[in-house]
Symmetry: C2
Subunit: 314 residues, 2 copies
DNA sequence: CCTTGACCTGAAACGCGTCCCACAGCTTAC
DNA sequence: GTAAGCTGTGGGACGCGTTTCAGGTCAAGG
């Protein structure tokens, strides 16, 4: 491998001058520049990226910790992060966690070792306080509401849109509203926001027999459909459009009269079913997270969700 | 930032000894090891990852060039790559290309600069010959059949399963078989493999009015449904389960008698519709691609697709 | 008693750019 | 005329580990 010193020696100029040519800086006479460039070409020289990183003190890489690599929620987030990163000259390194706190800590340690310029947790199993403490190692960003903990965060503000959604459901006259939650509301901020909005708008806590916990994908909707049908739900508010589609398909496959439906995430499926949904703008969350990770922005960035009302025809 | 020399000075030992402690190597007396470890703790020392990379000559990072970050095909591939990378101690850096050859070249250049230890093209817009030439810069892997070009490649061997699929269709007695192709068969290996198998098994080239080109997602199936319905298709073989679902939904939404259906990629949707599909094992392709990129394996790795026959009830 | 070799430790080169500082030559300004 | 300032170049320290090689100690084998 030929290096910058080889070029210096071969061209008869100093390393500093070669470096100036390399970085297109002033204070190099055109003749010298040409000559050095020629030598670089001849010797087939390319600067070493790692040496540059070491010398310049940054890697222009952002680590993104992901519980699941291929889940639509994460991929949308990653898409936003990656696009923004590209525009800012950063690259994204995928760090699979599989919800394992041990791995999360390992990545934090890597941040400390300057393997990345910043670290984004799209989800986290470690206590948030511990993550906050790790800010001493470098920029750490979470993608959930950190509550009172002081840490850069980018997340969706779901309150307003959930309220709108339930107000819509109420106004439409539905009486037995089924709820599909991703995880236990004691653990998941998303789930608890849904329950809160329900309680606040409907005026009572959701009934247990109309609440399904642990829905991630289409198949869960299909399973939950049985529960809702058995308990006489006249409406189902799912935590994802594809999940709502699953519910829809359960009723349809069993030739049951369809309940009202509402999804989330504004995917194709809701548009096609013609059901209302909520766009959480995950891509925008990703972009915001990146801006926080690079230090372009600071503090907490809330992205407002949008309730998208659609007439239900099916 | 405290570095290895600080530890050496502070502990009263040499840099070499500290390095030995750091890397858990032999030939350090327990007492010295303890002492140095204590000093490291006191000074809050962590080795610099970039310096290590520079010194050791590798980054343990594999670049993955992606045309689309959030598309199911790519995310499945990335999942396989990422899992395998994790097991081998490598990390994955996402490189968005958006089908832009200029960007692809830029990533190749970064490989040359030793920014990654290897580069995987999940798709490519550059001519394959040019990519093959770039092997001089380091391990480059493609995820498509490279034909006669000599380059490490991991891809699915679709021939056998496509033949099985068409044989199944034929045996079932379908007469007017619609075909949905991702891209023009003159450009896309996938599309041309489908057409070839069709022609070979059915005994004639697919009819133009029963061929849809350019299907990527559910919505395309929905659109294509109109074409097939208008032209009296009694079967549709789509290039994706979700796409097949789109076709299904078109017919259903228009209260038309459903045609036979077959998808690809073995997603939930085909299982739920109960239609046959083909599993291309993209995750396995990803794993294989990683093994090629790290140099653990060489040559070309074909992953056989599996035809999964299911009775069609709907 | 001498050789062999495992065990400890250190000096210094190496991987490779970047950047600050110094200095020479030349021009513009007062 | 001379101080001030810009241009063009070079020297060398710096960022930070890893690794080779040399040298010394000490115990086992012959």
């Amino acid at each position: 491998m030929t290096n910058i010193r080889d070029i210096a020696r071969e061209s008869g100029y100093s390393v500093s001058t070669v470096s100036r040519v390399l970085n297109h800086r002033k204070y190099v006479s055109p003749a010298v520049r040409d000559h050095i460039e020629q030598v670089m070409q001849q010797l087939n020289y390319v600067p070493n990226a790692v040496a540059r990183d070491l010398s310049s003190g940054h890697t222009k890489k952002i680590g993104v910790a992901l519980a699941m690599v291929a889940h639509p929620y994460y991929t949308t987030l990653v898409k936003g992060i990656t696009k923004a990163a590209f525009e800012e000259g950063y690259q994204v390194t995928l760090l699979p966690t599989d919800y394992d706190a041990k791995l999360e800590r390992r990545y934090l340690e890597q941040l400390r070792q300057h393997a990345f310029d910043g670290l984004i947790f799209t989800s986290h199993s470690m206590p948030i306080s511990e993550i906050a403490a790790a800010q001493a190692f470098g920029p750490v960003v979470v993608c959930q509401d950190p509550g009172s903990v002081t840490i850069p965060a980018a997340f969706t503000d779901r309150q307003a849109s959930y309220h709108e959604a339930f107000a819509w459901i109420r106004q439409a006259g539905y009486q037995r509203v089924g709820l599909m939650l991703p995880r236990d509301p004691n653990v998941s901020a998303t789930a608890s926001a849904m329950v809160q909005a329900y309680t606040s708008v409907i005026g009572a806590a959701p009934a247990a027999e109309l609440t399904w916990i642990g829905s991630m994908a289409y198949a869960d909707g299909l399973k939950a459909g049985a529960l809702f049908a058995a308990n006489g739900a006249d409406f189902v508010f799912a935590n994802g459009d594809d999940i709502a589609l699953g519910v829809h398909d359960y009723y349809q496959q069993n030739n049951l009269p369809l309940p009202g439906l509402m999804g989330q995430e504004n995917q194709v499926s809701s548009a096609l079913l013609g059901i209302s949904t909520i766009d959480h703008h995950f891509q925008a969350v990703g972009r915001a997270a990146l801006a926080l990770a690079t230090g372009a922005k600071t503090g907490q960035i809330k992205i407002a969700s949008d309730f998208i009302a659609r007439p239900y025809y099916c």
